[in-house]
Amino acid sequence: MSFLSYLLKGVSLGSVYAIIALGYTMVYGIAKMLNFAHGDVIMVGGYAAFTCSMTRGMAPLPSILIAMVVCTVLGIVIETIAYRPLLEAASPLAVLITAIGVSYFLQNIVLIIFGSNPKSFQSLVKIPGLKLADGALTISGETIVTILSCLIIMLILTQFISRTRMGQAMLAVSEDKGAAQLMGINVNSTIALTFAIGSGLAAIAGVLLCSAYPSLSPYTGAMPGIKAFVAAVFGGIGSIPGAFLGGILLGVIEILAKGYISTQLSDAIVFGVLIIVLLVRPTGLLGKRIQEKV
């Protein structure tokens, strides 16, 4: 029974990683860049929702919508100012470093605006939890909502990419930017759209992260961000179902490691598993095999 209980806890932690990882993998898949500032966009989403719902007393749904608008605009602005000029740079590392600069920037601007005191985030999820086996096992309302959101987002994203013209354009850009441009696709606006969607997802992830773990500070996004990034790599970065699978597995491994091996080494164990998986499958669980061309 305690194993089942750990497993459930792992799934609820994993669902939070998964929803963050979806945004990561989306941006990576299309723009081929590791957006280290993604975790901080999540944090901004958390603050936006906090300001709406707690300070202004708005209802949950409008709060989430406003947070999404804020993050989407933020994502587009970041992409236009900081990333786009570097997309054609001599090395892909240039944009990675700029992303780190953006990450510092977001943390510090929020620190100045909201102060360093953490905020306690009142859950925006109003659904009661599920109790199983006479209350020995519980699934919180946040977890249910998070998993459902993950599934819905996955469904919408995959449909969007495979069914719409915009989605097809994204796919084309991710395959070959130059060729896409020749086919009349506006590469810049396609990538901006990718960032807009990724950042909008970040807002949802931020709200759900803070609802499940109700402490909000300017550095809230950093560590879950990096863990979710690991989850995305784990599942095969660029693959949307991979991000979900990777997130859930990462959460389960982390909780089981804490429960049965060592709470101090749980992160080391998570990273150890990641290393083993990548050595066996160098592109992650569901990642595409890369054919080497001469």
Binding site: S2, K9, L13, G115, S116, S120, S215, S217, D267
Partner: protein, 382 residues
């Protein structure tokens, strides 16, 4: 990318030129220069900002009331990002500014690095909140306002034992944090001579402090009837929420790091009902000094001050009292001031918002911890 190096060359030359300008114009201005070091940015910024803000309030009050022995106080807070290396940089920058006395550093590990430098310079150091033993051991120039880790751990174990709060105790601590693991170590050592048993010790690390459900499950399964939580209120607010979600009901016992939990914006204080803690500072205390300080802090910075702020506020007044006792003047250099003030520290009896304190020559404070319990969102004395 070769053509960038020239730009960088020019930038670095300019940088060096700026840094070479000597800042020696302070002497004889007739004001005491008090420096402060703590994390103003980064994950530990909550603690550093509290200290910087509260010290500012105290300095403003002192200057308004005519200064220390007739001399004004100049105050300069510097950021160390909770990093030992940056902390030493901040210390050196303050030396260039003309610092004569140091209030800091706020966090333990950087404090150890800075104290090694300060001891070599014979600079007076008063840490408001550096709890590790080694913070003040490098020389006789260093003192502290707060309790040390061993003092807190021992006091907490004794309190639980003597008041017979529990037979089976579980512990949850931050194993990657100096403060938390230091308190845990002495708590465990003292527990052996008390009438309770530690049935479960679980920990977390600073990299995974969002989810505590596995640890709480272990504690719940161990059947403990009290959980000792020697860490800060930021994490504690999540622990309490998750425990409540899990239906885990137990007694919680914290140390001074928990203080501040009630003023976290948006925190559901009913989660903290019946949480016990040892703290030197109670923001709801009714004495005039505390009330005036809390009101001023809230007015200036919008938050209820935590014990870091209280320690810092007292810290500035301790420096004031020690300076007056020693009879030093701002035209003396830092080393002369230190020699006189460190003797004065052992002679003064300070009475402030964190209690009545005296010091021994090794720099440790002697004061009584206050045990409080949270009822209906406010502290009550136990």
């Amino acid at each position: 990318m070769k053509n960038m190096k020239k730009a960088l060359c020019i930038a670095s030359a300019a940088a060096m030129a700026v840094m070479l300008v000597p800042a020696q114009a302070f002497a004889g201005e007739g004001a005491f220069h008090i420096g402060m070091i703590g994390p103003l940015t980064g994950g530990a910024a909550i603690y550093g900002s509290a200290v910087a803000n509260a010290a500012q309030i105290a300095v403003d009050e002192i200057n308004e009331a005519g200064g220390i022995a007739g001399f004004q106080v100049e105050y300069n807070p510097q950021d160390d990002e909770h990093d030992a290396e940056k902390s030493v940089n901040a210390y050196n920058a303050l030396k260039d500014w003309g610092m004569q006395l140091l209030l800091g550093t706020v966090t333990s590990a950087p404090c150890i690095a800075v104290e090694a430098e300060a001891a070599a310079d014979n600079m007076f150091l008063l840490t408001p909140s550096g709890t590790a033993v080694d913070c003040i051991t490098a020389g006789d120039n260093a003192f502290r306002v707060c309790f040390s880790d061993p003092a807190q751990g021992t006091e907490a174990a004794r309190y639980i034992g003597e008041h017979d709060l529990a037979q089976k105790v579980g512990v949850l601590y931050d194993s990657s944090d100096v403060y938390s693991s230091g308190i845990y170590a002495t708590f465990r050592a003292e527990a052996q001579s008390q009438g309770f048993e530690i049935v479960a010790d679980t920990s977390f690390t600073s990299d995974s402090k969002t989810d505590f459900s596995a640890q709480l499950q272990t504690l719940m399964d161990s059947g403990c009837d009290l959980v000792f939580i020697p860490f800060y209120y930021n994490e504690a607010s999540i622990v309490l929420k998750q425990a409540s979600d899990m239906g885990f009901e137990t007694q919680w016992f914290g140390v001074d790091g928990i203080d501040g939990i009630l003023s976290v914006e948006g925190f559901d204080t009913s989660l903290a009902e019946n949480v016990m803690l040892l703290t030197p500072f109670v923001p709801t205390a009714e004495d005039e000094a505390t009330q005036a300080f809390v009101a001023k802090y809230q007015e200036s910075y919008g938050d209820v001050p935590n014990q870091f702020a209280a320690d810092a506020y007292d810290g500035v007044y301790i420096i004031k009292q020690a300076i007056e006792q020693a009879g030093v003047t701002p035209d003396m250099d830092a080393s002369e001031i230190c020699d006189a003030v460190k003797v004065a520290m052992t002679e003064i009896e300070f009475s402030g918002i964190t209690g009545d304190i005296t010091w021994t020559a090794d720099g440790e404070p002697t004061k009584d911890p206050i045990a409080v319990v949270i009822h209906n969102g406010i502290y009550e004395m136990m």
